[in-house]
Symmetry: C2
Subunit: 423 residues, 2 copies
């Protein structure tokens, strides 16, 4: 059922500096897995049905490495504070509402529907501390058809009463969460989600690290986003040399399982070296770098030094779930970084942005985010004819333009996840 040939103008990035564009090309998919992209339909695939998107752009599905489901409700509001105040005044107040399952039902229906309609085929998702609401979120994401890793958040200190667990209950609820969700869905899996160091005691982090090791469960958290946050971590954890070391000591920094850290705007040399050593993924969230005034993350450095980088929408630090938007913002911020911060750091190219949004983040899920042999077939089909132009353009130009002009909002006509068409 999931064996077919896709025909269209094929665009993908197998390497960060290489964009492959095949006009009138084919991707052969067998049981949801890619055989290869071709310029001509191979004889061996002539028995397969053809999904004909001639003249349309076929690109890998986008991978959102960092998105807060409960914050979707207030995206586009409240970008008038720095991180710590913003958390207190907006995020925590909204997240407290998810103790009420009827509110969660309403809000997560909207969220899952938005994600389904977006260009993203995979996402790494924060829930709230509420186990039941987070399971409800997972039900909805599974129904949406996209692939996701979803976390029940842990917070056992420096949090409002409405959003603070005891260490014991946070751990127990997480255990229960893993137990209930680890094998419940095909496309939706749990991920350990300590919110960030300021809201998690050392003991809680250690116990989560143990859970990760015992069950091989991946980890997501925040790292070095804001100078005020970093100073606070220094106070809270005087025995650690840098922020990331706190996670590392607990076994939550790629030492036990796949780990993604959002932001890394102000990481020190030591922290960067350890992320590289541990293979920690960085979720670059350019909108959020701006909206909560954190500053621009040094992505050129991360890419050049061989760290693993993907993109995140960071709803609601970012206002849009569109990874097309995140790509544009990543390119734009890299230009400002070059201009205002470090002229030795060359701006990001379009292939680099597309690589991060697809294969870069996709690697967190395994073989996802590219049209290469043995990759799972996640794809979006974009009709860019809704963006008229007077001159002829190459396929590569059309892809670049579709991203810059937000064609995911106006021209997303099909979406495949693991070989299944969900739009």
């Amino acid at each position: 059922m999931n064996s077919f040939v896709i025909k269209g103008d094929i665009v993908f990035c197998p390497y960060k500096r290489q964009l492959v564009a095949i006009e009138d090309g084919y991707v052969v998919v067998r049981d949801g897995i890619i055989e290869l992209p071709y310029t001509e339909l191979p004889e061996t695939a002539k028995d397969l049905p053809v999904h004909d998107y001639t003249g349309k752009l076929v690109m890998p599905g986008m991978v959102d490495l960092h998105i807060h489901a409960p914050q979707y409700a207030y995206r586009g509001l409240g970008a008038d504070m720095e991180l710590l105040d913003w958390l207190k005044h907006y995020a925590f107040k909204e997240e407290a509402k998810y103790s009420d399952l009827s509110y969660a039902e309403k809000a997560y229906t909207i969220f899952a529907d938005a994600l389904r309609k977006s260009a993203s085929t995979r996402a790494v998702v924060f829930g709230t501390i509420h186990r039941e609401a987070t399971e409800l979120l997972m039900d909805k994401l599974e129904k949406s058809g996209i692939v996701s890793l979803v976390g029940k958040v842990n917070m056992d200190r420096n949090s409002p009463d409405t959003l603070c667990e005891t260490t014991e209950s946070s751990f127990r609820e997480t255990e229960r969460f893993l137990h209930k969700t680890a094998d419940r869905y095909k496309n939706t899996k749990p991920i350990l989600t300590p919110r960030f160091v300021p809201s998690c005691t050392d003991e809680l982090l250690l116990r989560l690290g143990w859970l990760s090791e015992q069950n091989d469960i991946p980890v997501q958290s925040h790292l070095s986003e804001n100078p005020g946050e970093i100073a606070w971590v220094r106070e809270l954890c005087p025995d650690s040399r840098f922020y990331g070391e706190v996670y590392d000591k607990a076994g939550l920094f790629g030492n036990n399982a796949n780990t993604v850290m959002a932001h890394c705007v102000w990481s020190s040399d030591e922290e960067i070296a350890l992320m590289k050593e541990r293979g920690v993924y960085i979720a670059h969230c350019p909108a959020s770098n701006m909206n909560v005034s954190s500053g621009i993350a040094p992505i050129r450095r991360y890419l050049d030094e061989g760290l693993r980088v993907g993109l995140g929408s960071d709803i609601a630090g970012g206002q849009s779930e569109s990874l097309f938007t995140a790509m544009v913002e990543a390119m734009q911020l890299s230009r400002l970084y070059w201009r205002h911060i470090d002229p030795t750091k060359k701006p990001l190219s379009f292939p680099e942005a597309l690589y991060m949004a697809t294969k870069g983040g996709g690697a967190f899920f395994g073989k996802a985010g590219s049209f290469e042999r043995d990759y799972e077939f996640d794809a979006i089909v974009i009709d860019d004819s809704t963006l008229p132009h007077p001159q002829s353009l190459t396929v590569a130009q059309r892809a670049e333009r579709a991203v810059w002009l937000g064609a995911d909002k106006t021209g997303l006509i099909a979406k495949y996840v693991r070989g299944t068409k969900i739009i």
Copy 2:
């Protein structure tokens, strides 16, 4: 015919720090001119037809102070160079095509249609050096229903052969352009448009200044966008103390007529003082600040020091004609400015962004961009129900959210210009 009452959720900014939001309010319009906004329908207006947009957002039309019509063709492409190289490799090559009226016809049809469908009701527009193509552009803009000031561009040095005039022909063609277009349209008027100092000799500038004075024709150009550009101007014009003084000496800096200068990213204290003295309008183009790596303009300073600031899309330095997008980018860049450049410069608020996009730029046209007594009625109606949310929001929150989430692309259901409904 243009007398009616608009009913809806009314939002506008009479002052840069004040947002007025009237739930279920009314704006009374007589002969295209605003009487007043009201919370209740006044007795005296009960004879007028009501345009009922209950539950929808009614905001002033956006004013785009800087947009290049011929560059619309390649927006979303080529954001990989700094200004001067970008002009040579992309802008000039595209603009040369407009000597061919059949190409201009095709491209300007797309452009005018896009502007008509956008949230902008007024625009200050660059054409190319080609008089006939620019007149064709004006025909199309007049038909679109929006109000615009359109310039035939002047370039008589440092330009490719395909896009370089002699001083004499540049002047003569401009004279002819003014003669033909000054009284030809209701909503479309000419504006003098020396491209920028590097492409205009002193003599040409002087003669354009004379035309401006003689005919009271407004002026648009570029100013202090990029450090390389400024250094070049210093070489070309060693007798001027700063870039803006070159225009000033020619009578093109607000000394004879309304003048708008795009960018002003790197203006010196002296230049800023002179802009203030002359009442020069600044077109802040945040997307372009990023895309051609120019850097972030110091808009907080301009606003606090009382300079006149509006927003520009700067197609194709900017990729989108949406002033909603420009507002978001202006707020975002002000946060990075605070973080990376000057922590004494407070980030822009939503009312400030909306003010710049409406009344700030609208003042260039007279009484436009606000719902105040005697203002021309330019308005957009936004249906934000396409952006579902689980909680209740105030009208002011809905307006802020509609802008951040780009509801001009998804929910623009009506548009009025000078009291005439054009969408």
